[in-house]
């Protein structure tokens, strides 16, 4: 195992990495920006080094400074955590060039998965289903009509060179197709100088389901079941749970195996997440692969009793993955709430500042886990994300997990900044969430109802 690693991250992420490193007897070098010099987690690292100013570009995204620090402190490896440089192929490449092991996938795989079109093609070839639609750009209206008949309406027309909704049309039936096709083509031509359109089935009321995978450097991969991450506002996840109430045991087994196989076939190494969109009929369609450990990994750890980050270290040190799929059991249900310094009643506006009181709920039999770097008196600086902590509860079933999480949230005292706890309480209490039959539109529905009902 590595003797010493550099943590190219901050806050809660860095605290999590220090914990895993200590478990493995690995020394840590924590980096910090000028704004983070008092961050409590720095005390837990073996060595500390300031790498630049408060702006991320000067510090946590400053590759030269990070690489220099790794060299100067004789680090064998760098853990990028998540966010910042975690999915930066260039950074991973620079690390490999100087023989500081990047704890994550190889740079080529990061680059491949970073190119969404190539990632889709790769994973389709590796056996994962994509949203039904055209195979590339369509050449005629007849072709679009055929696709519509085949995949069913509504369908989405999208500009090949598109972005920002330009050249995009939702078509709900064949009768409007000719008109929409014409409009979208002209719009795309005007905006991008490229009339090329492609077509895919529009998935409404989709659910965000993602599978956790672990793959070693020798082509062996396993999956750690799925997480449901449909509770989002503006594509920011608020609550995640595992397993998903929408995934049956058969689907988990079948899709999990396909995911593990596809990851291995794509040359994936280390921890990664394969994201799917689930339609109302329960079909899963590959969206993208995240080449990092995710914020919400603790829910998978809770239901499998596997320390994913420990495996990240081991895989990076070329240890073959000892886990076999048949040995991995999924037990109970885990729910994670991201508690941020944000005001949920002011469109989640950031609320940085000093945390005057911080009293997390007591754990009790491993049912409650709090992942954080924060201690009383700590400051949430305005420069970065506003994560205070993650609260994770595990119960023997979903019902119990929700109750435990609600109880823990109510016992949680944080003063000095606004937090997202009220939003979590409202969501967990909502009939829609408790029923398990929710989709990515749940947050505005629940919160609007809460505000209209004067629930504040």
């Amino acid at each position: 195992m590595f003797r010493r690693i550099l943590i190219a991250n901050r806050g809660e992420v860095a605290a999590r990495i220090i914990r895993a490193a200590k478990k493995l007897g690995v020394e840590t070098v924590a980096v910090y920006s000028a704004a983070d010099e008092d961050s409590p987690h720095l005390e837990d690292a073996d060595l500390r080094v300031c790498i630049g100013g408060a702006q991320s570009g000067d510090s946590y995204l400053n590759m030269r400074a990070l690489l220099q620090a790794a060299l100067q402190y004789d680090c064998q490896a760098v853990h990028p955590g998540w966010g910042f440089l975690a999915e930066n192929a260039l950074f991973a490449r620079l690390c490999e060039q100087q023989k500081t092991t990047f704890i994550g996938p190889p740079p080529d795989v990061i680059a491949l998965m970073g190119d969404k079109a190539k990632a889709k093609e790769t994973m389709r070839a590796a056996g994962l289903p994509l949203i039904p639609g055209s195979d590339g750009v369509v050449s005629s209206l007849t072709e679009v009509r055929d696709i519509g008949d085949r995949v069913g309406y509504p369908i989405l027309l999208k500009a090949r060179s598109g972005g920002g909704g330009k050249g995009m049309r939702v078509c709900r039936g064949p009768e409007l197709l000719a008109e929409m096709y014409e409009q979208a083509s002209i719009e795309a031509d005007k905006a991008f100088g490229d009339r090329g359109l492609y077509v895919e089935k529009l998935i409404e009321k989709g659910r965000h389901i993602e599978f956790q995978v672990l793959a070693d450097a020798f082509g062996h991969a396993v999956h750690l079941a799925e997480r449901e991450c449909s509770v989002q506002r503006n594509h920011q996840k608020l609550i995640e749970e595992a397993p998903s109430p929408a995934v049956t045991n058969e689907l988990r087994r079948e899709m999990g195996e396909r995911v593990a196989k596809a990851a291995a076939a794509a040359g994936y190494v280390n921890a990664g997440t394969v994201e799917f969109l689930m339609d109302e009929e329960g079909n899963l369609y590959f969206m993208e692969m995240n080449t990092r450990l995710q914020v919400e990994h603790p829910v998978s750890e809770m239901i499998t009793d596997i320390d994913i980050m420990e495996h990240q270290f081991r895989i990076a040190a070329n240890q073959p993955l000892a886990l076999q799929q048949e040995d991995i059991a999924f037990e109970g249900h885990a729910i994670e709430c991201r508690i941020n310094a944000e005001d949920p009643f002011d469109d989640f506006a950031g609320s940085p500042g000093s945390i005057e009181r911080f009293e997390p709920p007591a754990g009790g039999n491993g049912e409650i886990r709090v992942d954080t770097h924060v201690r009383q008196g700590a400051t949430i600086p305005p420069f970065y994300d506003s994560m205070i902590c993650k609260l994770i509860a595990k119960g023997e079933n979903r019902e119990k997990a929700i109750d435990l999480q609600l109880a823990a949230l109510r016992r949680f005292t944080i003063e000095g900044v606004s937090t997202t706890i009220p939003a979590h309480l409202a969501l967990l209490e909502s009939e829609e969430f408790r029923s398990g039959e929710y989709d990515t539109g749940i947050v505005p529905r629940v919160l609007t109802a809460l505000q209209q009902g004067g629930g504040r």
Binding site: F2, D74, Q76, F218, A317, P320
Partner: protein, 576 residues
């Protein structure tokens, strides 16, 4: 007709000798082979179970366990130098060094032949004994000659210091290993090293020049280990801290990859070998598949007579070594005491030069015959020409020696055998095509040299259980030594019973000592031959070394059979 037409030369064993004789031959050979098998086991056991246990206790595999993981499943390993240092003891208290503490072998890895050099960690922690460097250098030399990848499995605590005067300073001292590393590298011979444990001083230099270096978590490479650093610098620190993978893989860049344990490191080495070009072997088979001889090689155990003075049919030896027992014999009419020709071994063209054991007609006196197993003028000329032609065509040559030496006497000098012999030596010395020498039985005197014995740099020299390697037979030397006491028929002249007994005893003593020195184990012990193999293994070793000779491209001449120089030779002598 520039065609190569091979003909069936095989004769069933039952037609060659009766079953009683065959069985008696087999029994004799089997008893000799039994000794070889037992001694192989003895060498493979290293210093025994106690040391195997020590290795396992450290979380490591033994050298043979590593080789077993490294090789392709179900493929044989062909060790060379097994009996180096056999029976020799060094130090105080005296200890043996089985295999000189290192395994060198031909091992198939990911479909490619490789030369593996692996310190035996069950013998004094893989340290280097007298002759260990020479054994390693020989393996490197074979790899360099044939451009075959080298894999080092290193677990070596350095020179065995009490014996340093024998291993350190000489031309073939330990430092020559690093020179060979460099030459291999300069000739683009791939070298991959796995470091599995100690790798101190000299051991530390050995892997560094390799293209790829894998280190396990148990491994360290240091100029000086913890003990010396403590003595010299008063620092207390472990050797792994000084030069483990944390330092060399990530910080000093003296190694490339880290592996948690031995099996993973070996898997990583295999993956490196897999990245190399595949072999040209199939290409050079010219469409023919390898096929076993019509009659099994193991029949050689019964073909070779118990009495070393008895003749046997050398063509039938060849028929049991070549594919389908098919052979193209060239110039059978001239120099009949020699057999030359081309066969396939594993589908690959191979030249054979062998001593006919039977009496042959004297070329100038058809009523007279001459004994076989000797070199006469025409035979020497024939094999010189064949050796040159094979070299020109890039055909590997197998020398099948059962030779008593050059013919002697007035006729030999009149025929200028010194000149013809020297031409042969010159030819063989300057040949670049791979030559393999098999000391089938007698390898005597200048005949051993003239037929590409070890000093003439064959890529491999094999001995058999009945090899007799010497300047001359014991009986011959005894006669020479007591010449003044003997008459023209080599009978003792004196009638004095006491004197007679003295001469008899003296002659018997000389003969016994020489015979003992001709024991193949003696030459194997001092590296005068590469390996002693069983009769039944001869073809397997040949297949491997011939395949190795055709594995890599771009470094030596290999002509299409259409334009072989051999055809010129055949055409000129063809009777019209």
């Amino acid at each position: 007709m520039a065609k190569v037409v091979l003909e069936d030369i095989g004769v069933p064993i039952g037609k060659l000798l009766d079953s009683t004789e065959y069985e008696s031959n087999v029994r004799h050979m089997r008893s000799l082979e039994q000794t070889i098998l037992e001694r192989r086991d003895e060498v493979a056991a290293g210093w025994g179970p106690e040391y195997v246990e020590r290795v396992h206790h450290k979380g490591k595999l033994t050298t043979w366990e590593r080789i077993d993981l490294l090789k392709d499943p179900d493929t044989p390993v062909f060790p060379v130098g097994t009996f180096v240092n056999y029976g020799i003891e060094y130090g105080d208290p005296p200890r043996k060094s089985p295999g000189a503490g290192v395994v060198t072998a031909f091992v198939k890895v990911c479909g490619r032949h490789t030369v593996v050099i692996a310190n035996d960690n069950t013998v004094a922690s893989g340290s280097w004994w007298p002759q260990t460097p020479e054994k390693i250098i020989r393996a490197q030399e074979i790899a360099l000659r044939l451009r075959v990848p080298v894999i080092y499995l290193i677990d070596c605590s350095g020179l065995n210091l009490p014996e340093q005067a024998n291993t350190f300073p000489g031309k073939y001292g330990a430092g020559k290993i690093f020179k060979m590393n460099s030459l291999l590298s300069a000739e683009q011979v791939p070298q991959v090293a796995g470091v599995f444990g100690d790798c101190i001083a000299g051991g530390g230099y050995m892997p560094i020049i390799s293209d790829k270096v894998v280190m396990t978590e148990n491994a360290y490479m240091v100029i000086a280990g913890a003990a010396l650093v403590k003595g010299g610098k008063s620092q207390t620190i472990t050797s792994v801290d000084i030069g483990g993978p944390d330092i060399h893989v990530h910080i000093s860049n003296c190694a490339d990859m880290r592996a948690p344990d031995d099996p993973t490191a070996i898997e990583m080495i295999r993956r490196e070998i897999e990245k190399l070009p595949t072999t040209a072997i199939e290409y050079y088979r010219y469409g023919m598949s390898p096929v076993e001889p019509r009659f099994p090689t193991t029949e050689l155990t019964g073909l070779m007579p118990v009495d070393y003075r008895m003749a046997y049919d050398m063509r039938q030896v060849i028929s049991r070594l070549v594919d389908a027992s098919l052979f193209w014999e060239l110039l059978p009419e001239v120099g009949q005491e020699m057999i030359i020709g081309v066969g396939r071994v594993s589908g690959l063209y191979t030249g054979f030069i062998a001593n006919n054991q039977f009496l042959t007609e004297h070329p100038e006196d058809p009523h007279n015959t001459r004994p076989g197993g000797l070199l006469y003028q025409q035979g020497i000329a024939k094999i010189s020409a064949f050796s040159r032609a094979c070299n020109a065509d890039g055909i590997p040559i197998v020398w099948l020696q059962d030779i008593s030496g050059f013919d002697i006497g007035p006729e030999a000098e009149k025929h200028g055998l010194l000149g013809y012999g020297s031409d042969l030596l010159y030819t063989n010395s300057t040949n670049t095509t791979p030559m393999i020498t098999i000391l089938l039985r007698k390898a005597s005197g200048a005949g051993y040299y003239a037929m590409s014995g070890h000093p003439y740099d064959p890529v491999l020299q094999l001995s058999t259980p009945i090899t007799r390697l010497a300047v001359m037979e014991g009986r011959t030397l005894a006669i020479g030594a007591y010449r003044t006491k003997l008459d023209h028929n080599f009978n003792i002249i004196t009638d004095d019973p006491e004197e007679r007994a003295k001469v008899e005893q003296g002659m018997a003593g000389v003969e016994a000592r020489i015979t003992k020195d001709m024991d193949p184990f003696r030459s194997a012990r001092q590296r005068d031959t590469d390996e002693i193999v069983l009769m039944g293994e001869l073809r397997d070793y040949l297949k491997t070394i011939i395949e190795m000779s055709y594995q890599s491209i771009g470094y030596r001449r290999v002509k299409t059979p259409r334009i072989w120089s051999l055809h010129d030779l055949a055409a000129m002598f063809r009777r019209i």
